[in-house]
């Protein structure tokens, strides 16, 4: 017992966290505009999130300390306020777009504006968190979210030149007439979408909540790799589908509804049903995880009791946090702010913020007093430092690219 459910934790993080509103929007747009020229971001982003999750999971198991717990301990209160504030901002914006994803699916189904659905889907998320246990959240979201595999079916049916796809994943060829700054900003946004920070907070907290122990280290590594790799496969399919259908005609998946067009054209009703179910439950799973992640982060930072397995009475501050965060997200969402644009900005901001949490984590992973025998080895350090450099470069170029590309629009 425990091993299989640990693996399930990895899969739900993959489906609900890896594939969410961020991927649905950024992958479709990238494929439509740049064909296969941004596939490399999936490779970089996936390897990055595997390294990050593996480190966070190992720290959680070895020391019993969660991510924001150790961030505050290592940086001190004042300095740690920066990553905390960044994480809260990115998480709230992420929640706004995930709820928008759920509401937009309902708009397609009912033809009623997503703004009407917005408060209702938030209420649904609040109700699930209020009543359900951690296992329920985990299993239901992951199972139903698997419908998003429809993108893989569609990609296979469209039969792209796979040799070319593989080649461009390593040696990208930017289509003519596209500005470099816009291409660069799209790349930052994609990396932020693949490495969405809440996934790691959720993963680290989940490992503590499920009481993983030293024997789970291997499971942890397998989970991180399998789960994220599984998500990457779906992301490749999403980009390829848009590249095969939108790109040749110079079209854009301009709206959320537009993302389903190639699926429906290729697979008919099956494509539509798969998209609606998959998109709804992937964004719902992500909305659940990001609400919890925000409450986890704040409680770990200030030392309050936290945990989805606690009843509201046992962790009232934790409960208050996720309810307030949902309220704030609804207040932002119902203003009618463009969910597609907000998605691109949010994932770029997420990419920008990554080194601020990853750097202290890497320091703790090397601290013997926390880690004991599970301290970072040479390989983990080479990988960790390599990604820290990559992420720092991403942080440095985000703002200049944002401005040069005409605020992401290019």
């Amino acid at each position: 017992m425990g091993k299989l459910s640990s693996l399930a934790l990895g899969v739900v993080t993959a489906v609900g966290g890896f594939i969410d509103m961020g991927e649905l929007v950024t992958c479709s747009q990238a494929g439509a505009r740049y064909r296969y020229a941004l596939l490399w971001t999936i490779v970089v982003g996936t390897l990055g999130i595997i390294v990050y999750s593996d480190t966070a999971g190992r720290v959680a198991i070895a020391s019993g300390r969660s991510l924001f717990d150790v961030i505050r301990e290592r940086l001190g209160f004042r300095l740690a306020l920066l990553p905390l504030a960044g994480a809260l901002l990115v998480n709230v914006l992420t929640l706004v777009i995930e709820l928008a994803g759920m509401a937009l699916v309902l708009q397609i189904l009912t033809h009623l504006s997503y703004l009407w659905w917005y408060p209702l889907v938030a209420l649904l998320i609040a109700a699930v968190l209020w009543f359900a246990s951690f296992d329920f959240v985990e299993n239901s979201a992951s199972l139903l979210g698997l419908s998003i595999l429809i993108f893989v079916v569609c990609a296979l049916k469209l039969a792209p030149p796979w040799g070319e796809v593989a080649r461009q994943a390593v040696l990208p060829q930017i289509p003519g007439g596209q500005g470099l700054a816009a291409y660069g900003f799209a790349a930052v946004s994609l990396i932020g979408a693949f490495m969405t920070p809440f996934e790691t907070y959720f993963y680290s907290s989940g490992a503590i909540e499920e009481r993983w122990d030293g024997g789970d280290i291997v499971i942890n590594r397998v989970t991180a790799t399998l789960g994220m790799g599984f998500g990457a496969l779906i992301a490749v399919a999403m980009m390829v589908v848009a590249a095969q259908t939108f790109f040749p005609h110079g079209l854009q998946a301009g709206s959320f509804g537009g993302i389903r067009v190639p699926l429906v054209a290729t697979l008919g009703d099956l494509g539509l049903v798969g998209f609606l179910l998959g998109a709804f439950f992937c964004t719902a799973g992500a909305a659940l995880e990001v609400s919890l992640s925000t409450a986890y982060g704040a409680c770990q930072f200030f030392g309050w009791d936290w945990g989805q397995s606690h009843k509201p009475k046992d962790a009232p501050v934790f409960t208050l946090w996720y309810l307030v965060v949902l309220l704030v997200a609804v207040a932002i969402g119902v203003t009618g702010i463009d969910p597609i644009k907000l998605t691109i900005y949010t994932t770029a901001l997420a990419a920008f913020s990554l080194p601020f949490t990853f750097a202290p984590l890497l320091i703790v992973a090397n601290d013997e007093r926390y880690m004991g025998e599970q301290r970072n080895g040479a390989l983990a350090n080479v990988a960790g430092i390599f990604f820290l450099i990559v992420l720092t470069l991403v942080t440095l170029v985000t703002l200049p690219l944002f401005v040069l590309s005409g605020f992401g629009g290019g």
Binding site: S63, G64, R65, D69, R72, E73, G76, F77, R78, A80, W130, F131, F302, G303, W304, D305, K311, P312, K313, A315, P316, V317, T319, L320, R369, Y370
Partner: protein, 122 residues
């Protein structure tokens, strides 16, 4: 020997049953004429952190706390240094968190907000 800033400050406080009781937000030193300064207590919760950020932030935080917790004139909690039993990745104390007053804000949030929501008492 261990450095206070590195090994005590900002660590989690666990009570005698292993339950969470906040973080070590600050430390209280006793200074007496002609004697060495001694660490007397751990300070936690109710404005200790906000005080570190300056007076204006402290006032703002106090107003926010009153709004959330009710008209409570809660002051920072001091846990006598003699109650610290062990220091590892957390600070272990030999008190019960409720008795030490460490659960006061959690209880206030429950009484004032969460307990009024439907099916809160299940």
């Amino acid at each position: 020997m261990m450095p206070l800033g590195h090994d005590v400050l900002d660590k989690e406080i666990l009570d005698r049953d292993g339950f969470k009781g906040g973080k070590v937000d600050d430390l209280l030193l006793e200074l007496r004429e002609g004697e060495r300064p001694v660490v007397r207590a751990i300070l936690t919760q109710h404005g200790v952190l906000a005080a570190l950020l300056g007076e204006r932030t402290a006032r703002l935080a106090a107003r926010l706390r009153r709004a959330v917790l009710g008209s409570d004139d809660a002051r920072p909690i001091a846990i006598g240094w003699e109650h610290v039993t062990r220091i590892d990745v957390a600070i272990h104390i030999d008190l019960d968190r409720a008795q030490a007053g460490l659960s006061r804000s959690e209880r206030a949030v429950w009484d004032r907000w969460i307990s009024h929501l439907p099916w809160a008492h299940r």
